[in-house]
Symmetry: C2
Subunit: 314 residues, 2 copies
């Protein structure tokens, strides 16, 4: 197996590109794919300050590394979710990476700053923990980025992640979600731009990137996400990819090119009128934003009756 | 395992309905599902004469039987495709069924009436045989129905078939096909209405229907369809159904309810202006319709240069 670019001995093959690469050409390939995603979807303009949502896993650490390699100003944000040893170890990976590379890592601990963590929130809402976790992350990434004046929030969602979410949305014809699933969500009043620079790179490529660059990352899946539907959808997509290399990328990029436009109106119509949350100021369509509702519920605070609403997820 | 309706011993369970049925209640369930599909999608109005596209397989024979059980006037049309022993045996099943039940079966033999068959067409076009076969079937079903004055053409596409086609169209974001994938295609000048009354019944239910009513059908898959993409897509959908009963039906019916509407404009725009084919009179957007082009190519006829076009499928 020879490297497609330099003809040296290859260390990895990528079936959907019908190509194999040596270490250096593979790292270059990863940078090129990120560069192309950024350009194609107008994710970042020169001078932008980017905040990377760092979990300590392979995707977010590789993303942080790749943005720096492309000379994009990128700091990290790590959220302490309080998921036992898993969170302790994840935080350690994030911190070690930041220290080793001399990067700025902002840390927010859910329990210290808001009085609850993900397991407590899940128990209080009697819902799957992934819902409370995702909601908290979206809120806090946006909140910190706004306060610290970042131009964009970059998340490590890769091709496999996005294709699995897309398949889930399509299987249930969640037309509103389909209209909002994009590699870039532009900024809007109260919302910082969200970007996904890894959409052109797969799960396996991100793991290889970390191994080949010596990035030490959290290998375990989150213990609270076990049985998560997306893991099943990934298996299904892997089976399709096995049968026909490139099927996954064709599905995701075909959606960006030709599918998503059909659902934009519906997504806009669903959005409703936004107003500031009376507790935190975040834009919301409800009386109290979803994060403050979750926090009040998880911390058992005595919420004034006129502000009470149904539990998150209802 | 007890029958949900009569509490007698059940012979089949249907996970997505969370139900089991005895023989008689299962046959009733099948009739009810067909009745509901016909009503929900306005497939047939009283007095309609229906032409059933009969292949000799389980779906088309069960469909023919079910329509008669529902007292809908339905004759059969069998096309001789010339696929060796497979076609001979399929024709025998169709004829035996018609004779045993005293039904009218119209037969059209591709080779006798048009001078070619599916293997010859596939060789001549150097394309997968399923393309030439599907094209011929669509053309001849419509042609015979028009000539004989039928109000609708009913095909035996079941829930599994339609979900697999839908998944294929979604994976490649074939937005024009998505707009045209429907349980009913209404009639239009030169086109007889097409209906799929089995969309609410799965593959396994149709096989059980035939076994329980003593319908003897062609069990083999078409030898020319081996490696057909849809078979792979069905496996993928079966895996999803295994994980979550009802996933397949939710995918297909969710598309009918909420998905398809987003692609109608595109499908209409793609259609183009129709005019009669100079050779057979069928509506076409080309100089010569796709069937006549295929026939000329397969029979090696000397097509006038000004009417020649690229091979089918280009």
């Amino acid at each position: 197996m020879k490297c497609r670019r330099c003809r040296g001995p290859a260390v990895i093959d990528i079936r959907r590109h019908n190509a194999a690469f040596c270490r250096d050409c593979f790292l270059r390939h990863c940078r090129e794919q990120v560069k192309r995603a950024i350009k194609d979807h107008e994710m970042i303009v020169p001078g932008d300050r980017v905040l990377v949502a760092v979990s300590g896993g392979k995707d977010s650490l590789a993303l942080w590394d790749l943005l720096a390699e492309l000379e994009i100003e990128a700091d990290g944000l790590y959220l302490g979710l309080g998921i036992g040893d898993y969170s302790d170890e994840s935080g350690r990976h994030a911190r070690d990476f930041a220290v080793a590379r001399g990067r700025r890592l902002i840390e927010v601990d859910l329990r210290e700053e808001y009085g609850f963590d993900v397991p407590v929130a899940a128990a209080a809402t009697r819902r799957a923990p992934c819902g409370a976790c995702g909601l908290s992350k979206r809120h806090l990434f946006n909140d910190v980025a706004l306060r610290e004046g970042y131009d964009a929030i970059a998340t490590g969602h890769n091709l496999d992640d996005e294709a699995a979410v897309l398949l889930g949305n399509v299987l249930r014809w969640e037309t509103g979600y389909l209209g909002r699933q994009a590699p870039v969500l532009p900024n809007a009043p109260g919302f910082v731009r969200k970007i996904k620079p890894l959409v052109r790179l797969g799960e396996r490529e991100m793991a290889a990137y970390c191994v080949l660059t010596g990035i030490d990352y959290q290998v375990d899946e989150c213990p609270m996400a076990q049985g998560n539907r997306h893991l099943g959808l990934k298996e299904v997509l892997d089976a399709l990819e096995e049968r026909s290399a490139g099927a996954k990328a064709a599905f995701l990029f075909g959606f960006y090119d030709r599918g998503r436009e059909h659902f934009l109106e519906e997504a806009a119509a669903e959005r409703g009128d936004l107003r500031p949350c009376p507790e935190c100021g975040s834009p919301t369509t409800s009386e109290l934003c979803a994060f403050c509702t979750l926090r009040d519920r998880a911390t058992g605070e005595n919420v004034p009756v006129h502000l009470r609403r149904a539990p998150v997820g209802d």
